[in-house]
C-alpha cells in the first residue's frame, strides 16, 4: 500500500519510485540543512531550562515539551505537504510508512522502524534507533525515571496528524536514555475526523 502512494505521488515520466527514493531525493536535493549537533544542543538547552523552571517536576516538563511540539506540528505539516504533495493515506498502515520513511527522513534524516502493530491495526510503534534530539545526552539520576526527554516528538506528531483530520494519541513507552533496550513511541489512532475532511476528497 505504501508503494502505491509513492507511485501516485512520485511517478514522473513513467519511472516508478518507492517512498524511500522519493524522500531521499527531497532530503538530498530540496532541503536546506543545518548541523545536527547544533539542533541537539539547542533542544538540550530548552529541556534543561524547563527542568529548572519546574524545579525538576518532570511530569510538567513532559507536558510542556509535548505542548511545544504540538504547536510546531500544526505548522510543520503544511511544510511537509507543500514539499511532498503526498496523497491522503487510505490506511493507517500507510500513514505509519509515510511518517517513518518520509516525514522523519526529510526533517530529521532518520528512518525509525515501524512495528508492534495492535491486532485492530489502530496502534503502532516507531522504534528510533537514531534520535538527533538526544545524541550524546545523558540524563541526570533524578530524571531517569520520569523525564521523557524527546517528548516534543509526541506533540509534533499529534499536532501534524490532527491537521490532516486524524485524532491520535502519541506517547513514549521506552527510551534508551532511561536505560531501556530501545526507544519506542506509540501512535494510536482514536478516530478519523470525517466531518473535517475537506470536501472534494471522496
Amino acid at each position: 500500500m505504501s508503494a502505491n502512494s509513492a507511485n501516485i505521488s512520485a511517478s514522473s515520466a513513467g519511472s516508478k519510485k518507492s517512498l524511500k527514493t522519493f524522500s531521499d531525493d527531497i532530503w538530498k536535493n530540496k532541503t536546506a540543512k543545518i548541523n545536527a549537533e547544533l539542533f541537539t544542543l539547542t533542544y538540550g538547552s530548552i529541556v534543561s531550562q524547563l527542568c529548572t523552571d519546574f524545579e525538576r517536576d518532570f511530569k510538567k516538563v513532559n507536558s510542556h515539551l509535548s505542548a511545544m511540539g504540538y504547536n510546531i506540528g500544526v505548522r510543520l505539516i503544511e511544510d511537509f505537504l507543500a514539499r511532498t504533495a503526498l496523497p491522503r493515506c487510505d490506511s493507517f498502515t500507510q500513514t505509519s510508512e509515510v511518517i517513518s520513511k518520509c516525514a522523519f527522513k526529510i526533517f530529521l534524516n532518520v528512518t525509525p522502524q515501524v512495528g508492534n502493530w495492535s491486532s485492530s491495526k489502530d496502534t503502532f510503534s516507531l522504534f528510533l534507533d537514531e534520535n538527533p534530539l538526544s545524541d550524546f545526552v545523558e540524563l541526570p539520576m533524578d530524571a531517569v525515571k520520569e523525564l521523557w526527554y524527546s517528548n516534543i516528538l509526541c506533540g509534533v506528531l499529534k499536532g501534524a496528524l490532527e491537521m490532516v483530520q486524524m485524532d491520535c494519541d502519541v506517547w513514549f513507552v521506552s527510551d534508551v536514555l532511561r536505560g531501556d533496550q530501545n526507544t519506542e513511541m506509540r501512535v494510536k489512532l482514536n478516530r478519523i475526523m470525517k466531518e473535517e475532511i475537506p470536501a472534494g476528497e471522496d
Binding site: N4, L81, A82, P198, A199, G200
Partner: protein
C-alpha cells in the same frame, strides 16, 4: 495567462488573503470577496456531492489500481522558478520547489470555473486550505489547468515557507506577511 487575483481561503471558509495583480475597473469590495470565499467553500462541497454515484465508485476502484494518470498533475517547468538565489527559496532548495508531477488532493470538488471573460482555478490542500487564482483569460485548455495547479502549489509552498513560520500568525486571521506578498508577486510576475 495573466493572473488577476489570488485568494487564500482557510479551512472554515474564511478569506485570509486576497491580492489583485492587475488593476481592473471592476473591483470587488472586501465584503464581496468575503462572500465569494464563503460561496466557493460551499460550491466545492456541493460539487463533490453532485458527483454521480457511478463515477464515485469507479474512481474508488481506480485509485486502488495504483497509477491513475487522470489524477496526476504534470509538472510544468520554468514556471516562475526562482532560480537566481538559493536564499530566496526559504527552506526549499534546488532549482524549483518541486520537479515532479503530483496528485491532486481535490478529486471530486470544484477545481475550475470558466466564463467568457475569465477562468478561476482552485487548489485545495489536505489540511483544507484553498488557494484560488483568477485569470483574465477564458480557457478550458488542459495545459492552462496544469499551469494553474503548478502555480497554486507553489503559492502553497510559499505559504508554508513564510506564513507558517511567523509564530504571530493566527490561522483564522488575514495573512499579513511581507515576504509572502513579495514572493507571490514575483511568482505571478514571472508567468
Amino acid at each position: 495567462m495573466a493572473i488577476q487575483t489570488i485568494l487564500v481561503i482557510n479551512k472554515s471558509g474564511g478569506l485570509v488573503y486576497q491580492r489583485d495583480f492587475i488593476k481592473t475597473s471592476a473591483k470587488l469590495s472586501s465584503n464581496e470577496y468575503l462572500i465569494l470565499a464563503g460561496t466557493l467553500q460551499g460550491v466545492v462541497a456541493i460539487a463533490s456531492q453532485v458527483t454521480p454515484k457511478a463515477l464515485q465508485i469507479s474512481a474508488k476502484a481506480g485509485s486502488k489500481t495504483a497509477n491513475e494518470p487522470s489524477q496526476l498533475i504534470p509538472y510544468v517547468g520554468s514556471l516562475g522558478a526562482p532560480t537566481q538565489n538559493l536564499s530566496d527559496m526559504g527552506s526549499f532548495m534546488g532549482q524549483d520547489f518541486f520537479n515532479e508531477s503530483f496528485a491532486s488532493w481535490n478529486q471530486s470538488g470544484l477545481k475550475h470555473v470558466t466564463t467568457d471573460q475569465l477562468s478561476m482555478f482552485l487548489y485545495q490542500t489536505l489540511t483544507g486550505l484553498k488557494f484560488v487564482a483568477i485569470s483574465t483569460q477564458s480557457t478550458t485548455n488542459a495545459m492552462a489547468v496544469s499551469i494553474a495547479e503548478n502555480l497554486l502549489r507553489k503559492a502553497y509552498c510559499l505559504y508554508a515557507d513564510y506564513v507558517m513560520k511567523n509564530p504571530f500568525h493566527d490561522p483564522d486571521m488575514p495573512i499579513k506577511c511581507e515576504l509572502f506578498d513579495s514572493h507571490l508577486a514575483e511568482l505571478v510576475g514571472q508567468l
